[in-house]
Subunit: 325 residues, 2 copies
């Protein structure tokens, strides 16, 4: 469904900003608390966090870039929330209140926007997130972007920068081919992320958004490389499906496709991997876990090395956000 | 200066996202703290607030909508921060860490962006704000938006909704004609807002962004109106200048122009106005203060009434964010 209308009567500019904000409050229902802890003042007043440290992340979605007319408004709205949730999961956090900036052309269709907010609402209800404020600003006709800033709290925020040479590398789920469906249907790995952040053997973690080949580098300490067992890489069936027509191998899709929204994390080199994997299976029987390699001393061949052949991976990049469209 | 370039070598897409994020860290200098309290992980980890309650606001700026090629990149960047600061001022708060979402066409010029960030940096240094994280996402060519989410803390957040019938209405500074310069050169009324929020006689406050005629309604309790002394309205000299050619009166500019970024607030009906104004002048000798009316019982004639004639103001709207451009 296209977010825009040629019929002025159906557009947000006919409705006007003040009425639109009232509608948004109604559309969001219980996800929109009363002011000052919700929409209606110059700032939202946040409830104090219960414990741990506060964390903050922001993510965007734009029509024509991150979704198109083939995507339902509900899916687009839910995805905006889930992308942010994946960042909270990466830190081992629990989501808190959020604020939303809408950037709308005057021809954005009110009915489309209502369904977009329904997707946001359903997702926020599921994950117990309140939408406490936001901003509406205008763009030229035919444009729509939404930017969500999500707070969270984490007992012990798990960082990317705390991995050490020798640590084992793990990924959750399967990788590649998310464009065939998972990029909307993914479940942010919140409970897994929280559990990992509390586990004494987990040394660092992050989420995979731009592809393993690009993102994994962020977990590597200076002067190290990742020695990867490519035969162990959990290749998604969607990656195999894509490979039939894309000219890429399924392995390349698993390494380079964006939007896996899985966790990649490191386990201390002294950890008992077998015991850890047994704990994991008991905790998360439905979330696959795979050890894919370990962190080794620097190699002149690059940051990502195929440990079977001791050569650099032929692809070391993932999704590039600023390429020409 | 236009934010875009036809020369690929000068564009952000040539630079790429990873290098751009590194550049942004350098451009921001001391305003960009080290991870995890700054750029570099999935979320930013915030330092606990010292006292009071946490507040949160978000605001956007888009090329072609909120600024054009006649505006320097530095002014555009600083304005994005100051718009958010005005919301913090409205609650009587002190600014805290911020996150920034950039939405960039591939042809955004790196040199332009560096200057945009220089404006952000100067403003953040002045107001002691850290930029702790963000997001970069792509738009179609020729597009640029930036969305800043700003945290803050307030000992006692001052709301809009706590004004009462009988209260006096005050505004700071002068109103109207901001398009002639003040919309970039304004100083957010932070210290005034903090002082007011602590003052026992100040019952409610907000900032003026869309014009008094639109914004003042948000301060009125249900079943009340604002009885305004139009002769007391502090009309900016820029409003008089505009009126010479606009076809509007200076008074109409003062009521309807957006982007004053002044405070409008209410004083308890039992307060000693003279004593309050004397205190104000001692505290803020350079910030004008004007009593412009009071809140009265509901009138069938509308929410904004000219108290001299007891008739509704002929204009009761301000800047409309969603009108067609």
């Amino acid at each position: 469904m296209v977010p825009f209308t040629h019929n002025f009567a159906d557009s947000v500019s006919q409705l006007g900003e003040v009425a639109l904000i009232q509608h948004i409050g109604i559309w969001l229902g219980p996800v929109s608390p009363a002011s000052p802890h919700g929409i209606g003042d110059d700032c939202a007043v946040l409830e104090p966090i219960n414990s741990g440290q506060q964390i903050l992340t922001v993510d965007s979605i734009s029509y024509g870039q991150h979704f198109d007319a083939s995507v339902s408004p509900e899916d687009a709205g839910a995805k905006l929330v889930k992308r942010n949730l994946s960042d909270i999961a990466a830190m081992g956090g629990t989501p808190g209140p959020a604020v939303l900036a809408l950037l709308c052309g005057p021809d954005v269709c009110t009915k489309w926007l209502e369904r977009f907010f329904f997707g946001i609402r359903q997702c926020c209800e599921h994950y117990k997130i309140s939408l406490v404020g936001g901003d509406i600003s205008s763009l030229a006709q035919g444009n729509f972007s939404a930017v969500l800033t999500l707070t969270g709290q984490a007992l012990r925020p798990q960082l990317r920068s705390t991995a050490k040479c020798g640590d084992y590398i793990y990924v959750t789920g399967t990788l590649g081919g998310s464009i065939l469906g998972k990029h909307y249907q993914f479940q942010p790995r919140l409970i897994e992320g929280q559990w990992l952040a509390q586990h004494r053997d987990c040394s660092a973690q992050m989420d995979l958004t731009d592809g393993l080949a690009k993102d994994l580098k962020s977990l590597l300490p200076p002067a190290t490389h990742a020695a990867l067992d490519l035969s162990a890489l959990p290749i998604a069936s969607a990656a195999h499906t894509l490979a039939k027509t894309s000219g890429w191998s399924a392995l390349q899709h698993a390494c380079c496709d964006g939007e896996d929204y899985e966790l990649v994390f490191t386990l201390d080199s002294l950890a008992n991997c077998h015991a850890f994997e047994t704990q994991w299976s008991a905790q998360f029987p439905n979330t696959e876990l795979q050890q894919i390699g370990s962190i080794r001393d620097s190699s002149s061949d690059g940051q990502l090395i195929d440990s079977a052949t001791n050569t650099a991976l032929p692809w070391s990049h993932g999704f590039e956000h600023l390429s020409g469209s």
